[in-house]
Amino acid sequence: MVESLEAARAQVPGVARKALSGNKAVAMAVRDLDVDVVAAYPITPQTTMVEAISELIAKGELDAEIIHVESEHSAISAAAGATAVGARSFTATSSQGLALMHEVLHIVSGLRIPTVMAVAMRALSAPISIWNDHSDVMNARDTGWVIYFTSSAQEAYDTLVMAYRIAEDPEVRLPVMVAYDGYVTSHTTEPVVVEGRERVLSFAPKRVTWDKLDPDNPITVGTLASPEYYYEIKYQQHRAMFNALEAARRVEEEFARVFNRRYGLVQTYRAEDAEVALLVTASYWDNARVAVDRTREEGVKAGLVKLRLYRPLPVEELARALGSTGVVGVVDRAISWGLPNAGPLYNEVSTALRDRVGARFQSIVAGIGQRTMLVEDFVKLFKLLYERMRGDRYSGETLFYGVRGA
């Protein structure tokens, strides 16, 4: 992303700029956040991150206990146990690993345990695919985690730093997931500004803001809630998500002030006067921006909106970003089986914004199992949307871009 690269070139004194993949950038963030306990199980394409963390521990650059768990289910369970004692914990996974964690994801958010994990997104089986799409995170969208989609190694590093601030906010106390595209981001080496422990810890200091397991003040965590209590406890959790939204806004601002890199919960590119816009997530931000410029050269006013914070959904920011657009193609990289509009993000965004913006929404599914989306593919999508808008021909069904024979 251009902004962060320029920031990287600015050479902030005392701060290192390193060539890092997304996975390795996350490992550096784990170091700079002084995480106490790392519990992880190997899965492609997450593995190089945990390898990098193991190296940092082996070299003495990170003082953390690493738990070589026997499954992802145990990874998230051990991380939760560690945070319950007052430690800063971390785990990371992909695909089937996230699916295997699924049960515990609900429990961690339900118990308001503020841990953080990174997800190098990958398609779900079957058939088995080690390549990228978003079906793993979409499957976890209703687990009560705060979820970020990030677009670059730098953004992954930065968002991990923000994640602990949000998770550990006493009004929030929710786990945070920082997701990025497997391979495209996890394995692509980019210049990354690594802020170092001192700067990161002054931004995200270690303070136990949640109820911890302490023999001097014994609490019971994980009780049985009867019908008289369960609903209120879950509603409180729902409200905590909106506290997380407020916290995310505050933390973004503060982060921009301190580190001079600004993202926003929703990012836009030439969207102000766009007739047709695409709503994308994660690494599509890069190719799609180039496509905006090319499409505009051909006379169609294209624009781009990137959703960075997915849960809680920043509806205000989305409405502002899409307020003046005629048609919005929502690009999903997951399929909600059996729906005429099969894009999960499409369904959510079009419902949330129905009464707030005048735009027509079109569901687009692309990139399933890492079917490549080049710049020209996004140009084609912009043109297709433009044609449909001009002819007032909206299919009302998902456009499965790039699938043969459809």
Partner: protein, 108 residues
């Protein structure tokens, strides 16, 4: 009767955490019983077994001296905490000197 208003969503604890250890002691188990144990301090030899085996912390071991009819003085007395007792009868079954009798609960 005390007011039993249930907590609102702002009053419940995050995640249903309980911050008061041992608070089940406030729950009354009297209604669970069909029989209640009655300890005869005369027969009781203060062997501690009823206190050991009770699953419900319903046998109280109190520092209360007791002199029986034979003139023997014990430093301890065993009593039943009926708010805890579910009337299982383990204490009576295991008492080596049959000093505990299970007595039917009367219906009020």
């Amino acid at each position: 009767m005390s007011e039993t208003r249930l907590p609102t969503w702002t009053e419940v604890t995050p995640g249903g955490i309980v911050r008061e250890p041992g608070s089940t002691l406030r729950l009354d188990k009297n209604g669970w019983r069909v029989e209640k144990p009655v300890i005869d301090p005369e027969k009781c030899v203060r062997c501690r077994l009823c206190w050991i085996y009770c699953p419900d912390t319903a046998i109280l071991e109190v520092e209360e001296p007791y002199t029986n009819s034979k003139g023997r003085t014990y430093k301890l007395t065993y009593k039943v905490d009926y708010d805890r007792c579910k009337g299982c009868g383990i204490c009576a079954e295991e008492c080596p000197v049959d000093a505990i009798e299970m007595v039917p609960e009367e219906v009020a």
